[in-house]
């Protein structure tokens, strides 16, 4: 189906709820006494949006708003992940001590707006719409990253984010304009076909390649792919912790969704039997293989030397972007399924790790260095330490945790295509990764607390969040069929 603007509205409930909610929260802050409860309101709105996503899941697939965005299984999958990421971030925000006394109305309003932008990123199928959604998410993220105005690091983060973001979206829009100039269309699938035809004329390869690489800058920046990753450690460190978690999980997932949709139904076509054939002439898969290897290696090696746990998790999330790209370059349904699966797993373990970090920061006057974890298990923090242990080993890819299963699917995808080099680089990276995750574990369990280290206790609300993440990490590490079949069902791109 291909619906007009008005007809589209009834398939547009999630976005409408988020948009209306975002404005409503601003109003509520001024007009009511709900100021202290706005977090809960935002939580409710996001949950409502998620229900709405579930409601649209029953609907037909098709284009909305004259082919600007699309309603299909793939978009639904990412909307669910993004909605959950927003819920996680809001949940954390309600218990965050750094955010106390800041303007909750603006904060939650912008957070919801950012989620709205991410929903559009997951579902846009038009270059212009994709660019607008990406910029919308970027702009809201700049504000959120610098929300702690008292903190010099926060302003630095925001400014760096803005400058990097501005440059990369500039490059991207230039790339997209070249694509438009060459093809005369903005629709992903149509541009793909047109570029494929153009490639048959000799001499077009170079310009198309430049256009694609420039577009890639924007996507790469969103998922923190090397060399477009430099913003992320500083922004992760300077932003309020719930926002760091939101960027690490949500922003990355949204970027990934856009990347997949641009390159898969756009610049390649399904070749039957589960494989994808890229348009001839432009060798983007090889380019991405190199990017994947470099991204995971740079992320891991730099993470080794970090003493600030927030920065460490930032570099680790760069490394995980590299792992995720393993599924991207396999050019198979299995590869895509592995990426979707890993996105879910990554959400669980990374958000969980950030939630534990918040418990530690709350309990130790905002300290976020490795020493703040020293002997955590032996000074009241047995539960957060045990949870962190599970998240760390899951991030390192050890069974019986979900991180291992996710990684196994990614490895399987590249090994199926016999990409041995990439598999070996990723294998070596897994070992490096273990070293720095084990450093956190070592600090928590093998080191003894020093006099004066505060007693850390997890508050109930955070404990519930962490508990759910732990549960997911363990259960999906032992029995993951539901997630895989959900990912499988979601591999539906309308219009390709």
């Amino acid at each position: 189906m291909d619906l007009s603007n008005v007809e589209s509205l009834r398939y547009h409930w999630p976005e409408l709820v988020l948009g209306a909610g975002s404005i409503a929260i601003l109003m509520l802050e001024v007009t009511t006494r709900l100021r202290a409860r706005l977090g809960e309101v935002a939580l409710l709105i996001t949950a409502l949006a998620l229900f709405a996503v579930g409601y649209t899941a029953g609907a037909d697939q098709g284009y909305l708003f004259n082919k600007m965005i699309v309603l299909d299984g793939f978009a639904l999958f990412f909307k669910i992940v993004l909605g959950l990421a927003a819920i996680g971030a809001i949940w954390m925000s309600t218990g965050s001590r750094e955010l106390e006394g800041e303007h909750p109305g603006e904060y939650y309003s912008i957070l919801l707006a950012s989620t709205l932008g991410m929903f559009y990123m997951a579902s846009s199928t038009n270059l212009l719409m994709a660019y607008l959604a990406l910029e919308f998410v970027s702009l809201t993220s700049y504000i959120l990253a610098g929300f702690l105005r008292q903190k010099p690091r926060g302003s630095e983060a925001s400014l760096k984010y803005l400058i990097y973001g501005g440059v990369s979206s500039g490059a991207m829009v230039y790339g997209l304009s070249l694509v438009y100039g060459l093809t005369g269309t903005l629709d992903f699938v149509e541009t793909g076909h047109a570029l494929g035809t153009l490639m048959q004329t000799p001499g077009n390869g170079a310009i198309i390649f430049i256009a694609l690489v420039l577009s890639l800058v924007g996507f790469g920046y969103k998922i923190a792919m090397v060399p477009f990753h430099q913003w992320s450690p500083d922004v992760y460190e300077g932003a309020p912790l719930p926002i760091t978690a939101f960027l690490a999980v949500g922003s990355k997932a949204a970027g990934l969704a856009l990347l997949i949709r641009f390159f898969y139904p756009g610049l390649s076509h399904a070749g039957g039997d589960g494989s994808w054939v890229p348009i001839p002439g432009v060798d983007w898969p090889s380019l991405m293989v190199v990017a994947a290897m470099v991204t995971m290696t740079v992320g891991n090696l730099t993470a080794l030397r970090q003493d600030n746990v927030k920065r460490l998790l930032a570099y680790s999330s760069i490394a995980h972007a590299g792992y995720l790209l393993m599924g991207f370059v396999a050019l198979t349904d299995n590869g895509l399924r592995a990426m979707l699966f890993y996105t879910v797993v990554y959400y669980l373990m990374n958000l969980g790790a950030f939630a534990v970090l918040m418990t530690v920061m709350n309990g130790s006057k905002g300290r976020e260095d490795m020493a703040a974890f020293r002997g955590l298990a032996w000074r009241g923090g047995a539960l957060p330490a045990a949870a962190m242990l599970i998240f760390c080993f899951s991030l390192a890819g050890l069974p019986p945790f979900a991180g291992f299963v996710g990684k196994m699917y990614l490895f399987a995808a590249v090994i199926e295509k016999e990409m041995w080099m990439l598999a070996l680089v990723a294998a070596a990276n897994s070992v490096v990764g273990l070293y720095y995750y084990a450093r956190i574990v070592k600090a928590m369990y093998l080191e003894n607390p020093i006099d004066g280290d505060p007693v850390i206790a997890m508050d109930a609300s955070n404990a519930v969040l962490v508990g759910m993440m732990v549960l997911g990490t363990i259960v999906f590490g032992l029995y993951w069929t539901p997630v895989v079949s959900f990912a499988d069902r979601s591999l539906v791109f309308f219009g390709s």
Partner: protein, 498 residues
């Protein structure tokens, strides 16, 4: 007994949850509970020993159900003559180790919970017949081991723990890659080891070669074979006694077990190609190198650790020969080394508990101070140096018999190393137990009841197997002869047709 193997594997895991639920300060209760949850596996092991059909070469007590159908991952447990031997060794050593850890007073609950988890991992590795399941159990052992060394170990425990962890993980990721490659090579894709074995003739030589090497590195780290051995002395020196026993008694065997279970039957051609350099030559080098290093040690535990490296060399040599004697000798040596080295580490532990150091030159004349202890020690030491009439002699002779048919030069070198073994063992014995009594330790108490309970059964097994090796050999002989035949008779012609 439909679920015998699952019960043996998961009863300790149940024990872990029970231990975790117990109150933290009741150390005695925790210890008794931990012991109580290792005993059923041992008793089931005894039953298994009685009821194992020694005439079959196929898998017995097989359990199978679909775990993740979309990826064709199955839960398959089963034992043949090779794994039943190792399973029994594990079931035997675990209760003994709980006793050996009885004196632990720091973080008792955590220690025993992790120990029980470790037991589940070990049992699972030996019983799993699905490669994926095998891998999970293999990795599950890492985590408890890291903490058991890292939290309850000696002064350099953090270093030793992470070194152990990283070394093993290098092997694991290579194993993961090879495992997935194997999975995709077959159509339909499967992790079922029995199917993978049946399909062995269809794998090309090139694929066999590199997959063999990837798996071999993973297993060699565990054995540990030179040059991947450096984690072992560190881990042993820092680990508490009970963990050293498990490490030397069971974990090292997983390396050679993995080679026999996976590399041999699934990649027979590659095994033929690499047997000489990777197993025979490297094994002999292990024997000599380990013995020479052991000679130079001043710490008793480090000496025993290096002696393990040396003794595991016989296992590698034995299986490389591709003769029935050699391969039987190798697996018998795995069992015997498990019991003998366990005794050695327990013996060192006994003295460390009393004197709080392990320097070989720090004692003297212990024989007159602790007579019973010395008697038990003598059995272990003479078994370790290969005295006829004790268990290790039989397995080493079998290995050398096989090796003689295979390569006489190597056999001569390996056999001469027995002299080195005798030298470091007797030298340590002389310095610690003989000579004038060190006044500082003139009134050390002799072994108590608990220590007797853990040492005497092992001593009895060592003596029985010295005169009646068939008690164990009969279990494994048919399986190993068949396995040997598969590898020896594999021909490249079949693969070339594919």
């Amino acid at each position: 007994m439909d679920h015998l193997l699952s019960l043996m594997t998961f009863i300790p895991l149940l024990g872990m949850f029970v231990v975790l639920a117990l109150p933290r300060d009741n150390a005695k209760l925790i210890k008794i509970t931990a012991l109580a949850f290792t005993i059923p596996s041992f008793l089931l092991g005894v039953w298994l020993y009685q009821n194992f059909d020694r005439s079959l070469v196929t898998m017995q007590f097989v359990e199978r159900f679909q775990w993740i159908p979309s990826f064709n991952i199955q839960y398959i447990m089963g034992v043949d003559g090779l794994s039943v031997t190792m399973l029994l060794l594990t079931a035997l050593l675990c209760p003994i180790c709980v006793l050996a850890a009885w004196e632990i007073d720091k973080g008792v609950k955590g220690f025993f919970a992790l120990f029980l988890l470790l037991e589940t991992g070990m049992m699972g590795v030996f019983a799993a017949l699905d490669f994926f399941l095998f891998f999970i159990f293999w990795e599950v052992m890492l985590l408890p081991m890291y903490f058991l060394i890292g939290v309850w170990g000696g002064p350099r425990r953090e270093y030793a723990a992470i070194k152990f962890f990283l070394y093993t993980l290098v092997g694991s990721v290579l194993m993961l890659v090879a495992m997935l490659a194997l999975y995709f090579t077959n159509d339909p894709h499967t992790f079922d080891l029995m199917v993978l074995m049946d399909k062995a003739p269809t794998y090309t030589r090139a694929f066999q070669s590199w997959a063999w090497i990837a798996l071999f590195i993973g297993f060699a780290i565990k054995i540990p074979a030179f040059p991947f051995h450096t984690w072992l002395p560190d881990a042993h020196v820092e680990a508490p006694t009970a963990i050293s026993v498990i490490l030397a008694g069971v974990l090292l065997k997983m390396g050679t077990y993995g080679i026999l279970r996976i590399c041999f039957p699934i990649f027979p051609l590659a095994t033929q190609d690499y047997a000489f350099w990777a197993l025979a030559a490297l094994g002999t080098w292990n024997i000599v190198y380990g013995a020479l290093c052991a000679m130079a040690q001043e710490d008793m535990k480090k000496l025993v650790a290096y002696s393990s490296i040396s003794h595991m060399g016989y296992v590698m040599l034995g299986m490389a020969t591709l003769t029935p004697q050699g391969i039987n000798g190798a697996v018998l040596q795995m069992f015997n080394h498990g019991t003998v080295t366990a005794m050695l580490f327990l013996i060192v532990g006994v003295i460390y508990d009393r004197a709080h150091h392990r320097r070989i030159d720090g004692f003297g004349g212990l024989a007159s101070v602790m007579p019973v202890y010395t008697g038990i020690m003598t059995i272990a030491f003479f078994a370790a140096l290969g005295l006829p009439g004790l268990s290790a002699f039989i397995s080493e002779v079998l290995v050398l018999l096989g090796a003689w048919q295979y390569n006489q030069a190597i056999t001569v070198i390996a056999a001469s190393a027995v002299v080195l073994t005798a030298a470091y063992m007797l030298w340590m014995l002389q310095r610690v137990w003989l000579g004038p009594v060190n006044e500082k330790y003139a009134d050390l108490p002799d072994v108590d009841m608990r220590e007797k309970i853990m040492l005497v059964p092992l001593a009895i097994i060592v003596m029985i197997l010295g005169v009646y090796p068939h008690a164990v050999l009969d279990l494994m002989n048919p399986t190993l002869v068949a396995l040997n035949g598969i590898v020896r008779d594999a021909t490249p012609a079949v693969a070339a047709l594919q």
